[in-house]
Amino acid sequence: MATLLEQAEVGPEPTSADLGRNPWALAGRRLRRNRIALAAGVLFLLIVLLCLFAPLYAHDVAHVNPFPPNLNGHTVVNGKVVAVMQQGGGTLHLGETPIGPTWDLGHYFLGADSTGRDVAALLLYGGRSSLLVGIGSAVLCCIGATVVALVAGFFGGAIDAVLSRIMDVIWAFPVYLLAISLATELLTHSSGFQFGPLHVSATSLWTPTVIIAFIFVPYVYRPVRGQVLSVVNKEFVEASIAQGAGNLRLIFSEILPNVVSTVIVLLPLMVATTILTESALSFLSVGVQPPNVSWGTMIQDGTSLLYTRPWTSLAPGIMILLTVLSLNVLGDGVRDALDPRAKVRVEG
């Protein structure tokens, strides 16, 4: 339906700067004008950078190796040397309690966890895992779903029917159920998997990555297939066929470029979703496995310290919240930029 201006028979007139510019450049310009989305993008990048510098922080700033338990360790608080685990802390008197946040960047900034490890350093390392799994699975998912959608939409008929039914069955599983089932299954293979020359350990980050990518393929498949179908029927494809283009050329030159924008819009939102899923799986101990740490595992670890040292759970949760929030805002901005004719801009 037409926007009011179109109803008024006034279309946006191309300015001389616009003429000749391809739609991607125009979209980029629109995105750049959306300051909130840009701010969100910057926030996300900052978080990524921060986590990338985890080793730097751990070695050079906090001088800790955050992974092995540090029950007998000591650190400096207000100039005094203090044991990391303290006797009988808090109202619950549960034996030893780790120190709380010192707000000193060089010494246990956010305190210690139940095995004496530096929470701040773990937070950054955990971010690495969460982001790797999140981004990796989202990308894998989008690629996989696009391939299947292209095949189904392009060839149509029985192939489409079979593929779509398979997708329906996968999607019929409650998402977490499927993920937990697969994860539980795969984790019992303590010796890992052999793919020809490649050996993947069961506790590698690939396991949750692949699982999460797999369970969300139907979700991305549906809209992409819809887009493929609408493009396949357009006249320029017919024209290309009339010119003698083969199947592969059609798929790559005509259909794929027009479908890419749908995937690009979905990508930030998928990363947001996968990060949330990974944190849930890790919280349930079927996601990222030790020795790796993720924000989800940290929240799980923080459960025992919930009332005495809340920051051990608050910090990773806040990081997830900020990361996912920035991705959602960015995703909205990308969608608005790529589709300005969309009747509604969610930011208002």
Partner: protein, 323 residues
């Protein structure tokens, strides 16, 4: 219309069947997993394992095992859990269902009411500060992991502020059946209800606002205004009626997924022993019969919800009805 419904339901049954087969295969056929070993416990001798295999019929061919399991679930209803042989699985699930239903129904009522309020308010207040404010709140609701929100809620209500008048009424974590103590049932569910609904309020509030704004540009809304009916009638009868179609179909799917055990994170965090909690425990213990049974339970509701939504969609939008 009737044939449409029947066909939809039959397709649903077929999908369910396929799902149970797949789950069965995942858990019984994957190399490296030996159910008998899992049941046998610590350091089993080969003979014990063999005995267990015979006792549980694990040495029979797979289709037979499948058939037997289906039979004991549906017909004789005496399927026994692997991890605790004293417990019959089907009654166990039946006992856990009220907890899940209480949680999900309560949360659903809250989220539908709040989401409609927020969505409509944001759309009507477009151009003022309230619109982006509400949408940011909604986004935060969507972006926070639900189990973490539950933890934070516990942190506040059970921990530091528990002694204050604000939260002293919150009972310890766990579920009390309605029949046992209605007031306690209610008090124990309030925080879980709010926690679970936050995510969905955010999601549905945004969806509804987007749909309303989109529908408002439709030609038939313009016609409705041109007819001279009041703005409120335009909103309720024309704009909302159409925008709610998506809302209602999404709701059906999400509600179905939650009843099917999708609320397991909330159940685990709040110690509510519903079906989701049961599923999680079963998976942890590799308690295969319980897993299969909960998956069937879950798949049934999801598939039912899908079918209901399809049918409901046709009822809501006359254009889709088969003529």
């Amino acid at each position: 219309m009737l044939t449409f419904i029947v066909r939809r339901l039959l397709a649903a049954v077929l999908v369910m069947f396929v799902i149970t087969v797949i789950v069965f295969v995942i858990f019984f056929k994957t190399p490296g997993v030996d159910p008998a070993r899992a049941i046998a416990g610590r350091n089993p001798s080969a003979q014990v394992i063999q005995e267990i295999r015979e006792q549980f019929g694990l040495d029979k061919p797979l289709p037979v095992q499948y058939g037997q399991m289906m039979k004991s679930i549906f017909i004789s209803r005496d399927l026994v859990s692997y991890s605790n042989q004293g417990i019959k699985v089907v009654p166990e699930i039946a006992a856990a269902t009220p907890a899940t239903l209480s949680l999900v129904f309560g949360a659903a009522i809250i989220w539908v009411v709040m989401a409609i309020a927020i969505g409509v308010a944001a759309a009507l207040l477009r151009g003022t500060l309230f619109d982006p404010l509400l949408m940011v709140l909604a986004l935060i609701g969507v972006s926070a992991p639900v189990f973490w929100v539950g933890q934070v809620a516990n942190m506040i209500t059970q921990g530091g502020l528990h002694s204050t008048f604000l939260f002293s009424w919150v009972p310890p974590l766990g579920y009390t059946p309605f029949t046992q103590d209605p007031l306690l049932w209610f008090k124990g569910l309030v925080i879980p209800w709010i926690t679970l609904s936050i995510l969905y309020i955010g999601l549905y509030g945004r969806v509804l606002r987007a749909n309303i704004l989109e529908t408002q540009t439709e030609d038939f809304v313009r016609t409705a205004r041109a007819k001279g009916i009041t703005e409120r009638q335009v909103l309720l009868r024309h704009t909302l009626r159409t925008s709610m179609i998506t809302f209602v179909s999404l709701f059906g799917l999400d509600f179905g997924a939650l009843v099917a055990g999708g609320a397991l994170l909330t159940e685990v965090v709040f110690g509510i022993h519903g079906v989701g909690y049961l599923t999680y425990q079963a998976l942890n213990n590799l308690d295969l019969p319980t897993i299969i049974a909960t998956v069937i339970y879950g798949a049934f509701f999801i598939v039912l919800a899908n079918a209901v939504v399809d049918i409901g969609y046709a009822w809501l939008d006359p254009r889709i009805r088969p003529t």
